[in-house]
Structure formats: structure tokens, C-alpha cells
Amino acid sequence: MIETTIPRGTPLPRIRPWLGIAAAASFVVASAMALFWAPTDAVQGDVYRILYVHVPLAWLAYLAFVVVFLASVAWLWTKRPFFDAVAVASAEIGVLFTGLFLVAGSIWAKPTWGVWWTWEPRLVTTAIMFVMYVGYLLLRGLSTDFSRRATRAAVFGIVAVIDVPIVHLSVLWANSLHQLPTVLRIAGSPALDTPMLVTLMASLGAYTLVYAYFMSARVSLELARQGRLWTRT
């Protein structure tokens, strides 16, 4: 019988409520900055402001899927159920964020590019990433055996992360409609004015706290499920 309960020595401080408050507060502040404080764009006017939602969600989706990769490796290496809980939590949040930033991008694309969607490299690889991780979540429903399910998902989680750098580099590798990276690029400093960069970083901080809060709640929920699973046998 594998030891699955977390040893309780000293009680952990209850940080999740504070994390939630910090996430909500920073989200409000960042949204206010994005809507009112950041300047309009010289070319696009105000429609560019969705950048402050689209980009942080995209970066955090990348992070979430890298966390899935790390947790999957950790599960295969140590067989500790905690890492399987982290993997499924991060995958769910990553899928949510990916769906949201795809919609945000589409809302931006219609008034600027002129189309809601087009099959260009960045959009294709992102759609593939979304579908793959939905597949990851569905894959977990195939088995009721905990260890088998976790191992199967972990292998898939390790392979699927390959698409994350492909999504980012797709605009550099092929003729594409999506613009080149503005911040995460090798040559030159970020190609946006300082107030815009400040607002983007504030948004990134806010969404990171939201991710951390969601992770905290979801992992805790999954561990509780695991606890119930084991005590029943």
C-alpha cells in the first residue's frame, strides 16, 4: 500500500484566502490600468487593449503546460500521487486559459485583420495545443485504476509539451499573419512604449496570482479526492 497521505507535522498556514484576495485585487487594478491608464495605440486606437488579456493568458497557458510536463516527469520518477494532482490541476487551468486567449485573439482579429479566424501557423499550432490538452483531460477518463491513469496521462503530458515552444516560434519559422513577438524576442528591447509595458507586466502579475490561486484550490481538491479514494479500500 503506497503511503498517500501528506504527513502532518506543523499545520500549514492558511495562505489560500490571502492568495485569493491578492489575485482579485491585482486583477481589478490591472484591468483598470489596461482600460483607462494605458495610452491608446497610434495605429489601432483602443482595440489593442485586449493585448492586456490575450498575452498574459497565453504566457500563463505556456507556464501551465510546462508545469504539467514537470509534474508528469515527477510522477513517473517518484510515483507520488501529489504530482499527479498537480499535473491534472495545471492541465485544466491551461486548457481554460488557452480557450480564453483564443477567444480574446479572435475578438481582436475581426476589427484589425478583418477575419475572425484563419489557418495561419500561430493559430494552427495553438489550436493543436488546445485540442491536445483537452485530449489529455479526456485520456484520464479512460481508466479507473489510479496508477495506470496517472502513468498514461504523464506520458502524454511529457510528449504534448513539445507544442509549447512550437507555438511561440511558429511566427518566426514561417510566413505568418500573426505579428512577431513584441516582448519575448532575442533582438532588441520590447517593442512597446513604457506605459504599455508597465500595464502588461501588471496584468501578467495579476493573472499569475489568479493561476496560483486556482492551482492551490484545485490541487487541494484533487488531494482530498485521492484521500477519499484510498480510505475506501
Binding site: 495605429v43 489601432q44 486606437g45 513517473l76 485583420w113 499550432t125 511529457i158 513539445i162
Partner: protein, 147 residues
């Protein structure tokens, strides 16, 4: 034998091996096989036959964005797409996106006519990666109506 090596380790190595394989295949093939658009030079080099649906991408050449109003409230737009080497005259009768400007990028989808001009069914404006605040007194270049 699997128990001796450790099925777990075999699985990790196999998973990483597959990941490397998939990554290499994707990385090497993605650039060449998934062509979203051709530049005018590439289209000329490939000798695209007329009536074949293709996408062209490039910059809208300065002083080439024009509109001609026909009878019955129709309008036909013409512009020149260039990549600095080759130019292609594009005729479009659909609506143009508001962000389309001379000197900025555009992607057009349609077919070449026998005389070498390009008839576009769809015109998509491309935005570059630079975001700047407008200079004092200037209005954003985003047009909401044409001309």
C-alpha cells in the same frame, strides 16, 4: 527483463525519445510544408497558374491604394503588394479591413488573372509587433471608413 531495468525508467526514456522525435519532425517540416502565404517573388518563382487559389503576402506599396466606384453602389479597390523585389497589382471588390494602410502589411487570397494581376476574394490587414502611443495632437491611423 522489464522488471530488472525498471519499467518506469523505460517509460520515461521512451516518452522523452518520442518527444524529441515529434519535435524534430515538427520543427523541420513546419517551416517548409505549411505555407500560409507566398511573397510576390516566391509566387513568381513558382509560376502560379491563373485561376489557382493562392495567398499572397507583402507590404502595400505607397500611393497605390485606390478605390473606383462603379454603378449601383459597388466599389472596386486596387492596391499593389510588394516584397521589395516584385510587385503584384491586386484588385478586390469585397470590403477592406479598416487597418489596411499603405506601407503596412497585407495578405490577399484569390487567384491570378491571365494578365498577371491578382483578383482577391479576401484582403487581410497585417499588424506589426510595435505598439506606440500616438504623438500629441495626432489621431490614430485606424480608419473606420474608406476612403
Amino acid at each position: 527483463m522489464l522488471e530488472r531495468i525498471g519499467a518506469r525508467r523505460v517509460l520515461i526514456v521512451a516518452a522523452l525519445g518520442v518527444a524529441v522525435l515529434v519535435g524534430t519532425v515538427a520543427a523541420t517540416n513546419l517551416a517548409s510544408s505549411t505555407v500560409y502565404y507566398l511573397t510576390p517573388s516566391e509566387a513568381k518563382a513558382r509560376n502560379i497558374p491563373s485561376k489557382q487559389i493562392v495567398r499572397l503576402g507583402g507590404q502595400v506599396k505607397a500611393d497605390t491604394l485606390k478605390v473606383a466606384f462603379g454603378g449601383g453602389g459597388t466599389a472596386t479597390f486596387s492596391l499593389v503588394i510588394t516584397d521589395g523585389v516584385e510587385d503584384v497589382l491586386v484588385i478586390a471588390d469585397g470590403a477592406l479591413p479598416g487597418l489596411l494602410r499603405e506601407g503596412a502589411g497585407a495578405v490577399v487570397e484569390g487567384a491570378f488573372l491571365p494578365d498577371g494581376t491578382f483578383h482577391a476574394d479576401q484582403v487581410i490587414a497585417k499588424h506589426d509587433e510595435v505598439y506606440t502611443a500616438p504623438t500629441v495632437g495626432a489621431t490614430p491611423a485606424h480608419r473606420t471608413s474608406f476612403p
